[in-house]
C-alpha cells in the first residue's frame, strides 16, 4: 500500500454511492413513502433505526468477532485482522449509538417516553456498553502484539455474552410485561405498503455502503497510526544503539 493522500478509486466510488443512496433514502423516507396506518409519521424514523441497528449488531460486531477470531488463530494471525476488528467495532458503536438515539426519539413519539425497558432496547443498551468496554481496552497503551491479543480475547468474550444477554432480556420482558405493540418487526412483513418496503430496503443498502466506506477509511487510519508507531520504534532503536557508540555496527534493516 502506498500512502497517498487520496483514497483509491473503488473507495471513492463507494463513497459517492453511499452518499447518493443515503440522500435517496432520506427523500424516500421523508417525502415519498406514506405514513404508517398505526404508527403514523413516526415510521419514518425506522428507516434509519432498522438499518443502523442491523449494521451495528450483525455486520459490525460480526466482522469484529470474525476478525478477532482470525487474529487469535495462529495460522491467520496478522495485524490486518486486529486493525479491522478495531475499526469495525468503532463504527459499530457509532451506529449502535445512533440506533439508540433514533429509537429513543421514536419511543418518545410512540410511547410518550424516551426510554422503556423493552427487551430489544435493553439488549441494545447492554451491547453498547459491552463494546464501549472493548474500545476502552483497545486504548490502553501496550506493545502492538499485546494490545492486539488482549483486544481479540475481549472481543471473543463479549461475543460469547451476546446470546446470553439476549436470552435473559427476552425472558425478562416476556415474563413480566406484555410484548410492545407497534413493533417495528411488522415493517419486514411482506404485506406492508410497497413504498415502505422499498424505502427500508434502500436504507439497508445505503447504510451498508456507508459502513463499507467508513470501514475502509477507518482501517486505513489505523494502519497509518500503526506505521507511524513502527517508524518511531525504528528511530528509537537506532537512537538507543547510538548510546553505546555502536551505531555503525547497527545495520538496521527496515
Amino acid at each position: 500500500m502506498t500512502t497517498t493522500t487520496r483514497s483509491s478509486r473503488p473507495v471513492q466510488i463507494l463513497g459517492w454511492l453511499s452518499a447518493i443512496s443515503l440522500a435517496l433514502t432520506a427523500v424516500m423516507a421523508l417525502v415519498i413513502s406514506p405514513p404508517d396506518v398505526n404508527m403514523g409519521d413516526s415510521v419514518r424514523l425506522l428507516y434509519l433505526h432498522v438499518p443502523t441497528a442491523w449494521l451495528a449488531m450483525y455486520v459490525s460486531f460480526g466482522v469484529t468477532t470474525l476478525a478477532s477470531a482470525l487474529y487469535l488463530w495462529k495460522r491467520t494471525r496478522s495485524r490486518f485482522w486486529d486493525l479491522t476488528a478495531g475499526a469495525s467495532a468503532e463504527i459499530g458503536v457509532l451506529f449502535l449509538g445512533l440506533t439508540l438515539l433514533i429509537g429513543s426519539i421514536w419511543g418518545r413519539i410512540t410511547w410518550g417516553v424516551w426510554w422503556t425497558w423493552d427487551a430489544r432496547l435493553t439488549t441494545t443498551a447492554v451491547l453498547f456498553v459491552l463494546y464501549l468496554g472493548y474500545l476502552a481496552v483497545r486504548k490502553v497503551p501496550a506493545s502492538p502484539e499485546v494490545q492486539a491479543r488482549r483486544s481479540a480475547i475481549v472481543a471473543v468474550a463479549a461475543f460469547l455474552d451476546v446470546p446470553i444477554v439476549h436470552q435473559s432480556v427476552e425472558w425478562w420482558r416476556t415474563l413480566h410485561q406484555p410484548a410492545t405493540i407497534g413493533d417495528e418487526r411488522r415493517l419486514l412483513d411482506p404485506q406492508i405498503h410497497g413504498a415502505m418496503a422499498w424505502t427500508l430496503l434502500l436504507g439497508v443498502v445505503a447504510f451498508t455502503l456507508l459502513y463499507c466506506w467508513l470501514l475502509a477509511h477507518r482501517f486505513r487510519l489505523a494502519w497509518l497510526e500503526d506505521r507511524l508507531a513502527d517508524r518511531h520504534l525504528e528511530v528509537a532503536i537506532e537512537e538507543r544503539r547510538a548510546e553505546a557508540g555502536l551505531s555503525e555496527a547497527a545495520e538496521v534493516t527496515s
Binding site: T2, T3, T5, D41, S42, L94, G97, I102, I105, L214
Partner: protein
C-alpha cells in the same frame, strides 16, 4: 406531517454525527499521510 420536529431532529442529528465522524477520520488520515510520506514514496 405529525411530530415533524422529532423526525427532522432525528434525521438531522444522525446525518450530522455520521458526517462529523467521517470528517474526523479523513482529516486525521490526511495529516498522518503527510507525516509518513517523506520516506514512503
Amino acid at each position: 406531517m405529525n411530530d415533524a420536529g422529532y423526525i427532522f431532529a432525528g434525521y438531522f442529528s444522525t446525518f450530522a454525527i455520521l458526517a462529523g465522524y467521517a470528517a474526523w477520520v479523513i482529516r486525521r488520515k490526511r495529516s498522518l499521510s503527510r507525516l509518513l510520506r517523506p520516506e514512503d514514496g
